[in-house]
Chain length 454, copies 2
């Protein structure tokens, strides 16, 4: 009898997060101050993030305890199942064994609550009243609203105006969990008002929304700012994904040759990959391949510079060394909104530089081509972001078919696509299009990088 799902009991959930900084030979250099470009100290970050999170950000401890209260909330849906894609393997006629970790079972529908819960806990411990944050299509905003609701905190979400208007369901989800959602640019901040004065009908952007959230957090007592990707502590909170997957792969009697995740800021990919990457970095599994998959519409890893850049368009957040297409770059409106971030997590960048990880980019038409075979076989409808990982697994499985290798492929199915069905519709109706990124546009975006002497 074939087994489809590998489930862990609640008492098998990880009790510590894995911090990859402990095992990296070349960890990323420190953040720089957004205005002075000087090296930032933890104190510089204190007005922005809860103290416990800043401590985690700079920690080089290999294992960091997950507070029991955080475990208690995570156990509402975790451990998440790991699937063996028997039907998809058969449809692809591949000798490869394909596994995927299914993070769509969280109430918010993605991996995002894994860090939102932890952040809300530390905020509550610090006595904060609430968090301000930004959200594009609403995945992160809904995860944080859920988390804050469970810890009795308030949530102020600046949602990119065009998404606020076009995607009411995620907005309703945030409000259902107590989030207060305003379209950005808003009249509630200096940054927002400045934009509205120039363009009262501005559709907004993630860059503007970040500026508004940061300003709101710093000008409201009891509020700090919450971030859903990129920084070390967020990626570390996501390692519960990979730590569970290690145990589940053991149940299945396999170890992956290839681990795959889609990467916008990089948190879900790192969450699955880093606990396996540990085995590569420590020499136990030197041949493990780790593939980070991005969108060709925002190719920071495959075509960007490896350089210092601001994390946000408005240049108010920390400056990090990372692969970037430039903080001023505005990506084409691909359906995978979560992959439209101009940079990538500094730790992922460092792993790409040391050639411990590989990067790959896909156009949206090719990811939906793979989606068709995946959905028809596995039933599950995943998010457009996740489909980038699906496409990479598909390509590797077809490569195995050619070479006859029975490799083990594991990817992160980071979220469901229930609110992204219009993308599936557009693909089937042949109205979905690819976007080519011209060299000149990329070069122009890269010209805005800060000049920093290391």
């Amino acid at each position: 009898m074939k087994q489809y799902k590998y489930q862990l009991d609640e008492n098998q959930m990880p009790t510590q997060w894995y911090n990859i900084l402990a095992d990296m030979k070349s960890p990323p250099p420190p953040y720089r101050h957004p205005a002075t470009l000087e090296i930032m100290t933890p104190d510089d970050l204190a007005p922005v993030f809860p103290a416990a999170l800043i401590e985690q950000e700079v920690s080089s401890e290999r294992w960091i305890d997950i507070p029991e209260e955080v475990q208690d909330v995570l156990r509402m849906w975790r451990p998440a199942p790991l699937y063996r894609a028997h039907r998809w393997e058969k449809a692809l006629d591949t000798p490869a064994k394909i596994y995927y970790k299914w993070e769509g079972v969280s109430p918010a529908g993605s991996h995002k609550p894994n860090t939102a819960i932890a952040q809300a806990y530390y905020a509550k411990q610090e006595g904060l009243e609430g968090f301000a944050t930004e959200t594009g299509a609403g995945q992160w905003g809904s995860a944080l609203s859920l988390a804050n609701q469970l810890f009795g905190l308030k949530t102020k979400v600046f949602m990119v105006a065009i998404s606020y208007q076009q995607k009411p369901y995620r907005r309703i989800m945030m409000e259902t969990w107590g989030g207060e959602v305003v379209p950005s640019p808003s009249s509630e901040t200096h940054a927002g008002r400045a934009i509205l004065e120039q363009d009262p009908d501005s559709p907004g952007s993630l860059g503007i929304a970040i500026s508004e959230a940061l300003e709101y957090a710093m000008t409201h007592d009891g509020y700090k700012y919450s971030l859903g990707s990129v920084v070390n502590f967020v990626l570390m909170h996501q390692t519960v994904i990979g730590l569970e997957a290690i145990k589940q792969m053991e149940m299945a009697g396999d170890y992956p040759d290839i681990v795959i995740g889609c990467a916008g800021g990089g948190s879900n990919a790192a969450g699955l990959i880093y606990p396996f990457m540990k085995d590569r970095l420590t020499g136990e599994k030197p041949d493990l391949r780790a593939i980070f998959v991005e969108s060709t519409a925002c190719p920071s890893m495959t075509r960007g510079a490896y350089a210092y850049d601001w994390g946000d368009t408005a240049k108010t957040g920390p400056v990090a060394k990372m692969h970037t297409v430039g903080h001023a770059f505005i990506p084409a409106p691909v359906h995978a909104g979560g992959l439209r971030y101009h940079g990538i997590a500094p730790t992922i960048s460092a792993l790409l530089e040391s050639e411990d990880g590989e990067a790959r980019a896909y156009h949206q038409l090719e990811v939906f081509e793979a989606a068709e075979t995946f959905t028809n076989s596995e039933g599950i409808i995943v998010a457009p972001e996740t489909l980038h990982a699906v496409r990479a697994a598909y390509d590797e499985a077809l490569r195995c078919k050619e070479t006859g290798e029975s490799q083990v492929i594991l990817f992160n199915a980071s979220g469901h696509g229930h609110f992204d069905l219009s993308a599936y519709d557009a693909y089937r109706r042949e109205s979905l299009r690819d976007y080519r990124l011209e060299e000149e546009r990329l070069a122009e975006a890269l010209s805005s990088l800060p000049q920093i002497k290391e």
Copy 2:
């Protein structure tokens, strides 16, 4: 450490369905022919349903084997988890222990695929090409599209026109799984054309859609008709829910005092309740309370007649003895579209008559009132139909608070509400309203019942 979820391994999934007819002292009388009103034979049903399903419909065997191929597909998401609602209990400050079975984990998001998979399997065995069916908001149509896709069958769905226009997401979901969806009334059937001639802009109704699906099935070689609720075989396919729950309640060390399900046609309620009802009917648990919850907008169980009635508005389907508000009744447009069926499963009716089950009806405002406490505590956003069961659990928990009893309450969380968020939005914006059903309107609807001498 509190345990939230009780998970079974795949090899613990039930291998047989439970047929309650074997244990009922007064099973429902046989169906009558829609035109002659004479007692129907299995042969009369042969043009409509696959032969194996007709056999199951009239079987009085207590246990019926689940084919291995059906088990194999169900194991893609089953066994479904059973939750203990620790946080909700705390929020309600009740001594009651509340459990719920979570059926929202299926790819289609509800319990509906449990029977769709079985029906598709038998259709494939019989050599059929496809199934025709009707769908209101799309829950059933998407479950059947998924099932047919996995077995290589075609799906023709007649979707109530107003839903087709207003709820594109479920339509896209059906199409993503290969379903061919047409708004009903359509020009593809005699029944549809007749309506369109009178009213080219007809919004459609479930009654019209059923007529179209039946006609399509009977006039297309290789097609039969698939039904998602009401009849015995459908309810039996759903008993995997309760059979799993029995094992999970054992893991939790509890047995329910009260089992609850929301009931439109009655399939999810029966699916959870019948395996427990067996213990009541056989005298093992004579005090078990079973509560079937309906909408006050369509109060077949609480205000309807117990009488023979047609299963569909157009009087083309079998006539069954059941609680009904009359086949001509058109319910108010409550958000719980799945509870807008004029009748109820004949076996549920018989259990209500023998006082083995209780019926209860709620207005939609009171179910959303309970929703707020449930969602805030448990995180999960359930469907408006499911919220009727939530409200009943809430009332029982508050009764326990008053009496100080530590009763064990179990309800079926039959599906997620991701495509019903507009209802949550309407509630929060105070634009949701109740609908009163006047005595005169009910009396008029009941006047259309057939005259049958038993």
